[in-house]
Assembly symmetry: D3
Homo-oligomer: 136 residues x 6
């Protein structure tokens, strides 16, 4: 079994707050991340696809296609955006790293799960010291 | 001559726009960075102080003091903020990397230029692929 | 399934030697690491916790709590210490990277295995080119 | 269960082309990588071995031995080579990252799968933004 | 005075050999780099431009323009090439890191030295552990 | 003018204390670094040599020679040592980063300042977030 992983970056702003909770609860839960003006990160996303190596091509999947899907489905709509205001569903779903990784998974998997290969994981770094990983 | 350099990070959002220019001019000049909702970065700042090495202490300056000044004057007021709205003078001055580095210089130099040493440079990374450097 | 990983660093010294072995055997086994005065590393530890994402909070666990546990149980007692002399059980257990990772696991797991989540792995870098990983 | 991972680098050139395919098909499949003069990378390989920690030695395996095997079986024959011309089987097998990782696995596993431990994965970075991983 | 630095990468192959020298002299001088089939690197180039900050724009130069010049003059012609065969003057000039950095300087400076700003340095990493820097 | 920079690493332990000062003064000045058992770092040293590019060789200096001098004069005597006890003059001179960089300069410069080139700087990272730089 072989996997291929492609890394990309996007710069976005967000804040973490849940309208079901009071301002005090949001501040207690999310700390400095709760400020409604937002703050930002250079998010790094690593997408891993697993599958068999095609015996003729020698590849799990065409890397140019993987780059194009990642660019079209994630980088283009997320980069240089205020996630809470400009990227659904983050107007309703708190853009914690966990929820952003899940949304990236949701956007990518229909385009990657074919020809015997499948999306294996989405890793999202919010800072160099913190990442989350979503498995299908 | 010896220098000491300390690195720190802050996560902030910003957008680049000059009210003296039209929306079209701002978009042409700053591209995706002109969006008024803002977007964000994990900014990395490297502060370099030059001076003589104290013959007893063996240091250009007390590292604990350098960390404390950087934390108090830059990280605390900038981290998890929307620069254009929450951190003067960026309500009036476009927060390009060049202008952010100059403001960091302005805030740090009074506290570091003493006892024969001086602030030598402020380097600011907006992304891992782009940095500016301000020299006094 | 989702995981969250937090990275932290500590600077410590150690040496590798087993009193059950002769000096020659220790030197053959551990090479330059056997010198009893010790030498040091900037150890990097990455702690991964797996669990369900809380539907209200949008998090596997409160990141502030994860940082506090890691700081209190590992960084505070290990940082700026000579492991063999100052941090039990390394007065009796050779502080190889494998044994250090196991000890970090032992210290962290009681505080992280609750509310349906569990400590999944402890990765410890001794240098940028060498790491070990402990799984429960 | 514990693993130990060792990282090493080699600088090599390669190109991707399959003689069963036409030049147009090769160009469509491999893009800029199909040019027959070759181009190059600083490949980074991370080799992970899993096993039990020896209760006396405190190690999964002797790190000096792991370094020696990796150096002798991979770095020495691959470094500063044109893979397609100088390193079999890449005269017949297209040196995609997937195929290079498989060949590294094939060369290393006989020397590492012993004494209760086994080669767990070979990760190969072609650039900092792209890696493949081979599992046994 | 302020500078702006932009980083980019290209993957190329090269070998170091001077036709004025004998094969033995070339081997003694350049070691493993003398092999005529070539080998490769992920070269990283950092281009630094110094100048005044435009009081209206808040920038030393338009970053989009800097990226476009670097892409057009260096990355496009160098990436995925065998420098000795495909990129003049390296058919006649040994592509040591020093000579590659000088050629990058020669290609970039006419496009960057204008409007009061100037190309200040070209840094070229051949590997993460080795770089050269060319000053005008 | 061109420079060449070579990076290398050594793992050592040290503590910072000046026998002219009281234990309280040492603790106030050096904080956690004053503990007499020592602690450690993966020190990274970057040595920069400036000079003219030899018109035949295309190099500021022979890279193999630079690596050999750095290995022989610095890495071999410093690596896996307790600096205060095993590496003169650190039995008498406090091994602050500033003083270690100066000692590296003192050891390297006689071997590098020749044939029209000269040692330009020694940069020493104690951690990824802190470095000092010594200029001749």
């Amino acid at each position: 079994m072989v996997s291929i992983t492609r890394k990309a970056e996007f710069s976005a702003s967000h804040f973490c707050s849940n309208p079901q909770l009071s301002p005090e609860e949001n501040r207690a839960l999310y700390g400095k991340s709760a400020g409604p003006n937002g703050h930002g990160h250079n998010y790094v996303v690593e997408v891993t696809v697993r599958g068999e190596v095609d015996p003729v091509h020698g590849m799990v999947m065409d890397l140019k296609e993987l780059k194009a899907v990642l660019e079209r489905e994630v980088i283009e709509p997320f980069d240089h955006r205020f996630l809470n205001r400009e990227v659904p569903p983050f107007d309703r779903v708190t853009p914690t790293p966990e929820n952003i990784a899940r949304e990236i998974w949701r956007r990518l998997s229909p385009h990657l799960n074919q020809n015997g290969r499948r999306l294996y994981s989405v890793r999202l770094y919010e800072t160099p010291d913190l990442y989350v990983e979503h498995y299908g």
